[in-house]
Amino acid sequence: MSTVSLPAGSGPGAAVVPSAAERRARRRWYRQPALMAGIIIIGVIVIAALAAPLITSYNPITQNLTASLLGPSAHHWLGTDQLGRDTFTRLLYGLRVDLRIAFIAVLFPFVLGTVLGSLAGYFGGWVDVVVMRLVDIVVAFPFYVLVIALVFVLGPGERSIYIAITTVGWVSYARIVRGEILVAKRQEYVLAAQSGGLSSLRIMGRHLLPNVISQAFIYAMSDIVQDILAIVTLGYFGLGVPPPTADLGSMINDGQNFLSTHWQLTTIPGLAVVVVGLGLSLIGDGLADVLRPGQS
């Protein structure tokens, strides 16, 4: 064959492919518009939620029946609900509660799923079979059905929410991590570590996981959105945080009887959830672009 040795970086698009340093420069995270937009959105919301007592002087719980169902005004930026509580205040405090629960709730499935997924992926064999069967069993239940059933059975309150979400949510992390490890463990650096006599645990912990965890982390962003939706849904059905604590879901529930007259009571809390979801999705997509190997 008429072979002509081509040095690296040559070939059809030789002049077009950027060098490695250029690729790194382009991928730097602050240059990603999606990622930055998402961070800004979430940042603003989180700060607003945390600073709620500073922003608004109203109490989210105290009722004031003389001021019920007022429209938006200078006193009440978003009006009041049927028990006279300021909607804007309840929105901020509701975000506080729901975001807090969601951010905590995502941790347990993340850890549990990553551990089980790593074990399944790395050791294979019957460990893999068992874990995958567990996955199949959990996945057989629709997400909301199982979460609602578990919260019902365990009783209302935050603890039930965490248990229910963990039981149902570990599955996606396990799948992702298992998939990544299946690919990664065939890489040469793993074979080198194994032949060097390192224990399995060490290989998994120090060599495989750090590379694999980025995918799980990206998924976690969309998982937080899922969890927020779940918490808000539970709140809507009265299965979430018990009243009178402000909660976005129960706010929507309270407002649904006044849909035709005071639509903002139902619409605004949902809109807040959508915006949070947007911000987190942008962060997730932006991270995915930044961390994608070898592309600008």
Binding site: R133, L134, D136, I137, V139, A140, F141, P142, F143, Y144, V145, L146, I148, A149, L150, F152, V153, L154, G155, S222, V225, I228, L229, V232, T233, Y236, F237, G238, L239, G249, I252, Q256, L259, S260, W263, T266, T267, P269, G270, V273, V274, V275, V276, G277, L278, L280, S281, L282, D285
Partner: protein, 313 residues
Amino acid sequence: MGRMAFVGRRLLQLVPVAFGVTFIVFFMVHLIPGNPALSILGIHATPKAIAILHQEWGLNRPLWDQYWLFLDRLFHGNLGQSLYYGQSTTSLVFGHLAPTLWLIIYAALLSVLISVPLAMTAASRQGGLRDHVVRAVPLLGLGMPSFWLAFLLILLLGIDLHAFPVSGYGNGFFGHLRSMFLPSLTAALALAPVVIRSLRASMLTVLGADYITTARSKGVPGPRLFFRHVLRNAVIPAVTVLGINIGFLIGNTVIIENVFAIPGVGQLMINSIFQRDFPVVQGVTLVFAVLVVLINLLADMAYAALDPRVRFD
């Protein structure tokens, strides 16, 4: 013969799943704080009734024995007695099944009708304005609570336009078609972001494939190229995605039936939760799992029917 073996193999894989699912449903009783018998019997909990239940269900015996008894009852179609309605759970569930099935099928169809053209538009002009607009849909859509979306639709289409009823199931085929439109549209829109995203990706892959270039070089005209070559290949991963997400669609019915007051299995579940009608909650959870598993099996078979490479594995 290959197809039968394929189905057989899938069914065999379902056996451990079936055991697992029934075990979880069974175990729910024991998660309730307090005496399980009280939860099951509710206001009918006389000491005599409790004693009978302990005997029938073996509540004093080891867990495995109880599970076995549970399976035995299940096999005979006995899911317990509804505390609230006084009927057998099984008959209650089957009575509520039809509207839910309507919702699922209608929503799946609408979802396809919405997603395919949008994905097609985006894929055919990758990077263009339409593409970016379509790609923005999942960003917004994934964060939307479906009941909120329902209210939005009710506001816009139901109340303002009086075009469609906002509650109830309707009468007769066309009554169902009208009454179920808003609920199914809500469910379809909730599912659409995910389907659009993956359909677009698979269409892009297909459009860039070599065999499309071959077809073009044969002089295959536009419409035929799209339907027999592009779409025919792009549906395969789309069916897989739809199958994976059908669980999500089914789970959504719980919420949507509640918002639109549809007398389906989902509403049955929520009502039973409020009425603390434990046996029904247990039964409905099981039925939902069965639905998901069945539909996944159907999706797998559809996939095998569509992709000739599968039969020979």
